[in-house]
Amino acid sequence: MATDVSRIHVETTINGEPVEFLCEGHDTLLMALRDAVGLTGTKEGCSTGDCGACSVMLDGRLVPSCLVLAPEAQGRAVTTIEGIAKDGKLHPLQQQFLQHAALQCGICTPGFIVAAKALLDVNSNPTESEARYWLAGNLCRCTGYDKIIRAVLDAAAETQKVTV
């Protein structure tokens, strides 16, 4: 049943660095990141786009990488959890997650941080409700979301102080 399909060579940018990988036409970006590129920070929770654990940014837009095909990364810019900290320095979101104890098992944390970064990129001063609705696509089963939302709002306040 194997068809004669040659693998696709993808040239993309991941976390600001040029990266190449080979993939099949039906491979997802999630699989390519984890298996071909070795960036296992992005997680698989459901493969149907319902849990947010696979969240990455594609050309700055928040997407579920389990529903993006790997070849689509050609010529695009991908941001994963591994690219949130810059030059070894944690992003305020990561700092606030640690301060607030906004993680317990930690499996949803990469997805939340990428999603929250995408939020702050378009809305630097979200209300609690805006944060909750933006992050509704990220499931957490451990925390009840309370400390996560507090961490996101405090990170927003912190980044506002710096930029204003």
């Binding site: 099949e24 039906h26 509704a136």
Partner: protein
């Protein structure tokens, strides 16, 4: 999923050629329905024809003619368009309700239409705005009103080699606005149990001179409900008229029982949402939204 090719044409004609060369290939926009179905073994295409590299399919243009919305424009981009939100707030409502922020970064109106789920959110908001589907194929381009595009669950009027390129929405008349509401058990992330789209036009005296009502998830396809619209036309959208419209919506609904809702529940909610959507549309007209 096994052994599916990936193609990324950069023009409409190239896409049509690829489809004709391989009838088992499928067009892909955001993939939020398609990839889930492939993984579940429900669809087994031989190739994905990713249309997101075709400029005409990815653009949003608003002019004297109305809105030309590329079929693969993602829902997030649509909701971010301020002019679009002002002219067709109901369409923006529907687009912003399609799943999570992540899904909205991928899912498109085109995909929503072509997936042809009875519960799809955007077809109803397009239908009440008299939108048309722009279809490209081997025989050229053709237009089909949105309410005729979906034939049955999962099936559209698209023929071999054809794909949805854009949706055209005429400019609304003066004093016209719309709204879309849906009911979900949770605040987000659910498929609509019922959806209701209402478009209203008020005349200078505050009397409703035109209305369209369409329901989602209460029939095999999006349901245009002329009776509900007629209950509103000629009225001042007073309580009695709203109740008649709600009752007409409930009466027209012929849903099924499934894991998301019962027949009785869906009928009841069809009425409740129609009344509420009409009220919002009315507020928008009056408030000059």
């Amino acid at each position: 999923m096994s052994a599916i090719r990936y193609e990324a044409p950069t023009s409409i004609s190239e896409a049509i050629r690829l489809m004709q060369a391989d009838p088992a290939a499928t067009v892909m926009a955001g993939g939020t329905d398609l990839l889930v179905q492939c993984r579940a073994g429900v669809k087994r295409p031989s190739a994905f024809i990713d249309i997101k590299r075709i400029a005409d399919v990815m653009s949003v243009a608003i002019g004297p003619d109305g809105l030309r919305l590329g079929a693969a424009v993602c829902a997030a981009e649509l909701s971010e368009n301020r002019e679009l939100r002002q002219l067709w707030p109901g369409i923006a409502d529907a687009a912003s309700l399609i799943g999570s922020t992540q899904i909205q970064g991928r899912g498109s109106i085109g995909g929503n239409l072509c997936n042809a789920s009875p519960a799809a959110d955007t077809p109803c908001s397009l239908i009440v705005n008299r939108a048309e589907c722009l279809i490209a194929g081997p025989a050229g381009e053709r237009r089909v009103p949105v309410e005729q595009f979906i034939v049955s669950p999962g099936k559209t009027v698209l023929g071999p080699g054809e794909f949805l390129v854009a949706v055209h929405v005429p400019l609304p008349r003066a004093s016209t606005s719309d709204a879309y509401l849906r009911l979900t058990p949770r605040s987000e992330m659910d498929i609509a149990v019922v959806g209701s789209a209402v478009s209203l036009t008020l005349d200078a005296h505050g009397v409703c001179s035109d209305a369209r009502v369409a329901l989602a998830a209460v029939a095999p396809t999006p349901l245009l409900v002329p009776d509900a619209a007629n209950a509103l036309i000629g009225s001042r959208l007073d309580d009695a008229a709203m109740t008649r419209a709600a009752d007409a919506a409930s009466a027209a609904a012929h849903p099924i029982d499934d894991k998301r809702g019962t027949i009785a529940y869906r009928r009841q909610i069809a009425g409740v949402l129609t009344r509420r959507a009409a009220a919002i549309a009315c507020r928008r007209v009056k408030g000059g939204y």
